[in-house]
């Protein structure tokens, strides 16, 4: 009997099930991504290509906004780089689990990395100890996440621009970002980092090439780093 195969499949299904409850947070984001893509004049093919090539929503939305403002390529990529730097953390955290895989498989698994899959997996890995099962579980979360993200973006591209002009759908983008950040503000330090970032972005708004975003983010990071050092907060 193929008992190993069975548990892997069970773990895969468990991964799908664990990601399912957080898809309501993914779908609106995908719908907005699709709407913004089509409002930016991208074709269905271009919008979905971006979705598959980048596969990181916040950076895609920021990139489209900057591209609509005709920002230089370097600024768009640098901004996306800063937004996606958080994946370094997940990469380091998941690295022990994939260490025996081939470089190509590592690359494949890395491509599928998202906030959602990581968050769900790292909690479940407290219980799942076997590496093979962990990877199977992770793949389950990935399949669920990818389906939710790509299908909702596709829907956004196809139907998004049917909304009447009197409804300011472009406002959904900052609202979506805010709905991600607000629950993360757990204490005074996070609140200060967020407020620094917000006020710096207003102060630096008129800088050329949309440099303000990167300057604001870096200033806020420095403030956060300084405050944790100051208060002696240790993990």
């Amino acid at each position: 009997m193929s008992s190993v195969k069975n548990t892997s499949w069970d773990m895969f299904v468990l991964g799908v099930k664990r990601l399912l409850p957080i898809t309501p947070g993914v779908v609106p984001f995908g719908l907005i991504m699709g709407t913004v893509a089509s409002n930016s004049g991208l074709s269905l093919f271009e919008g979905m290509s971006m979705n598959f090539m980048v596969f990181a929503g916040a950076s895609q939305l920021a990139a489209l906004e900057l591209m609509n403002a005709k920002s230089p390529i370097l600024i768009v990529v640098l901004t996306g780089f800063v937004i996606n730097l958080r994946f370094i953390m997940y990469s380091a955290s998941l690295a022990p689990i994939v260490k025996d895989l081939s470089p190509l498989k590592k690359l494949g698994l890395a491509y599928t990395m998202t906030d959602q899959s990581y968050a769900v997996s790292i909690v479940e890995f407290e219980k799942i100890k076997n590496t093979k099962d962990q990877i199977a579980f992770y793949m389950g979360t990935v399949v669920m996440m990818m389906s939710a993200w790509h299908l909702s973006t596709l829907t956004g591209i196809v139907f998004g621009n049917f909304a009447p002009k009197s409804i300011s759908l472009d406002f959904a983008v900052p609202l979506a970002f805010m709905s991600i950040v607000q629950p993360l503000i757990k204490n005074k330090v996070f609140a200060t980092v967020a407020l620094t970032s917000a006020s710096m972005s207003i102060l630096t708004y008129s800088l050329p090439y949309n440099l303000g975003l990167i300057i604001s983010a870096i200033t806020a990071l420095v403030v956060g780093g300084y405050m944790t050092k100051e208060e002696g907060v240790h993990e």
Partner: protein
């Protein structure tokens, strides 16, 4: 949008993002991240996203004279309250859009 501009940007953004994701899968046995850096990485979403949100509301020139054209600021704070109460992405986005619509309808 210019086609070569779009594809170059998307390709580079995709490549850079993939390199970040795979970084420690390849470097794991060679480098350890210092705890200080790890802590700073945890701040990234909170350090980046407000800088995308604030200008979209505060620097947006609206058309409601009684609010000085700042109807999006008002709608944003109302949605922030909904987010605080519900922690729900959909409720937050939906309420913000509806608030803005109603403000413009009433004012």
């Amino acid at each position: 949008m210019n086609s070569s501009y779009f594809w170059t940007t998307v390709f580079l953004l995709g490549f850079v993002t993939l390199m970040i994701r795979v970084s420690f899968f390849y470097l794991y046995s060679y480098i350890k991240i210092p705890n200080r850096v790890k802590r700073s990485l945890g701040f990234i979403p909170v350090a980046v996203l407000p800088a995308l949100v604030a200008p979209a509301a505060f620097m947006h020139q609206g058309d409601i004279v009684s609010l000085g054209g700042h109807e999006r600021v008002l709608a944003l704070f109302m949605a922030l309250f909904v987010s605080y109460k519900t922690k729900n992405v959909f409720a937050t986005i939906f309420s913000g859009i509806v608030f803005l619509y109603l403000i413009r309808l009433i004012a």
